[in-house]
Amino acid sequence: MTNEPSTQSGQARLTLAAMIPASVFYAAFFAVPMVCLLVLSFWTTKSFVLIPGFSLANYVKVFTSPLYQALMLRTVGVALATTAIIVPTAFALAYCMRFVFERRGQLILQVVLLSLFSGYLVRIYAWRTILGKQGLLNSTLEWTGLINEPLEFLIYSNFAVVVTLSGLLLPLAVLPLYSAMLNVPRDHLEAARDLGAGRLHILRTVLVPMTLPGLRTAFAFSFLLAAGDFVTPSLVGGTQSMLIGNIVADQFRGIGSNWPLGAAMAFVVVAIMLAVYLSTTRLIRWVTRW
């Protein structure tokens, strides 16, 4: 009895000690580079030479340039569209894996994992062969006589970017959602039904709230990764499909590069994405309030 407080503080100390390796790792591989980048974003360049200092010029440029504003908007739009495809699809898939296929759901999980290991570029090129002018989709549609000419918008367009990103990121959203579903006992869904709830009601008042952590992670994976991608737009996007990531990347390589501007852009992008992410998760919570 009397030594309980000291045991507790002993445990707290132990917990702190256990966190040291993780903290060091986190500092070395995440915090330090981020701080360097932040400092860099206040510097300026002259004739491709970095000039240390504290200037808000880069941020002003990011916020005032119509080009950057348009890119930001398009990026948020593409990322939201991608997420709007991925999250419901992944949710439905995870639901089926857990509650319809049950044991056999594990098999689908293996397939999902396998697709993750098959490589990023390979999968983008795979989508190109599906969506391309002479691609799988167009030739099938032509063969069935539904269309006479290849559908132009299928490739090198915002549509292609959204579809390809959805295909790429879907498995990443399935994983957290499936794991969240595993934590939902069937009893709870049946209890809601027994008490008189219809299917939509169960979804809104029980299933979504109980899988909220998984939903948040799935949303973060698809939204943030889609918003940050610049390889997909450059491979399947058209001239009007560049995303902010492409411009940020350009600031860090080749001629015309401007590291401080790129760093400022990166921080603005991160801030906007976080804001969108947080407001969307708020929205989910509001919709599912009981």
Partner: protein, 355 residues
């Protein structure tokens, strides 16, 4: 009605035909896997019977989904919604029925008082003990005043003391509300304590349906007498039947018993069942005044706190157990010769079951 249920080739229920009266507390008692939950889920609407019909108050509800049925189910592990407070859990079905907020609040308070959890309404389910969680589950299921409350082993996860207390509370609540309860359990004591009637289940069938007294005193099969309470079983052949009396010839003598409901014929193999607490024990090997008696030597003495169980070997392969008060067993030691006796009416004869 004759409800049966098949899962693929597995026959979970076979020709179940039973009826519960309004305001009754009925237990479905049986070993794990005998089909209790399946039967309850058919009543709740989660499973459709392969054949047969379910009626509630003269209304055929066989095709009704669970959300439409006037039944509510209390789950084994409560199944409280973790993201809602106790209050929100209890009010869930009321909000779905579009009650006004003030009426919902009043009902929630009433329910909290009923299950003696006043003041805990704003807690999260994770802040409740096991017993409290089951009370909330009960309150949630009762809130919308279902005509029938179905309970699937709701107390099995609680420890003994709490379980016994909750048994009495549950029974008191049911009596106060005058509601119809169908309660699933594998614990025979629980069923005996709580029920108006008990349906004993075995292999997807109801093998006996009656009051706890009936079932305990007049089991209609070896299975029931063995399952409900401890019993001594002596097998033999029916010797004679006259009027209300039946005599069984066993390897250790002829014993009489009242004729049960079962039709037995002379010469048929049968089993005599005898409750340990009905057996009296006398030191020595003299005759006794009471109806039936047999002699043997004490083989084992087991102290159980409130009583002592004494096993007496009457044949090399037959032991009869007697249950005595502790002080009655003073001075007895293994090896002592003793005579066992019991009233004729305490024994029951039933058909031998092929094992």
């Amino acid at each position: 009605m004759g409800v049966s249920k098949l899962f693929g080739d597995t026959r979970a229920l076979e020709h179940i035909d039973f009826r519960v009266e309004d305001g009754e507390f009925v237990s479905l008692l049986g070993a794990s896997g005998c089909g209790k939950s399946t039967l309850l889920r058919i009543l709740a609407g989660f499973e459709r019977p392969t054949t047969g019909t379910v009626q509630i108050y003269q209304q055929d509800v066989t095709q009704w989904p669970p959300e439409k049925r006037p039944t509510n189910l209390v789950f084994q592990r409560g199944a409280l919604f973790p993201h809602m407070t106790v209050r929100e859990n209890i009010g869930y079905s009321l909000k779905l029925r579009r009650w006004t907020p003030s009426r919902i609040d009043a009902r929630i308070e009433e329910m909290l008082a009923l299950v003696r959890l006043d003041g805990l309404g704003d807690r999260a389910p994770s802040q409740l003990s096991g017993g409290q969680a089951q009370r909330v589950a009960l309150a949630r299921a009762l809130a919308s005043e279902p005509r029938v409350l179905l309970l699937d082993e709701p107390l099995s996860a609680l420890d003994l003391k709490l379980r016994q207390q909750m048994q009495l509370e549950l029974r008191a609540i049911q009596k106060r509300l005058g509601a119809t309860f169908v309660f699933v359990t594998h614990d025979q004591t629980e069923a005996l304590v709580m029920s108006d009637r008990i349906a004993i289940m075995n292999n997807g069938r109801i093998v006996q349906y009656g009051t706890p007294r009936d079932i305990y005193r007049r089991p209609n099969s070896v299975f029931v007498s063995d399952f409900v309470g401890a019993t001594n079983l002596l097998s033999g052949v029916v010797g004679s039947i006259d009027g209300e009396r039946i005599v069984l010839q066993t390897a250790s003598g002829a014993f009489a018993a009242p004729k049960g409901t079962e039709q037995l014929r002379k010469g048929e193999r049968a089993v005599l069942s005898l409750r340990p607490e009905a057996v009296r024990l006398h030191p020595g090997t003299g005759r006794t005044a009471e109806g039936s008696s047999v002699s043997g030597n004490i083989a084992e003495i087991i102290f159980q706190g409130n009583c002592v169980r004494i096993g007496t070997q009457i044949l090399p392969d037959a032991t009869i157990w007697a249950e005595l008060r502790d002080d009655e067993a003073d001075g007895l030691t293994p090896g002592d010769p003793v005579t066992l006796s019991w009233a004729e009416s305490a024994a029951a004869v039933m058909k031998e079951e092929p094992q």
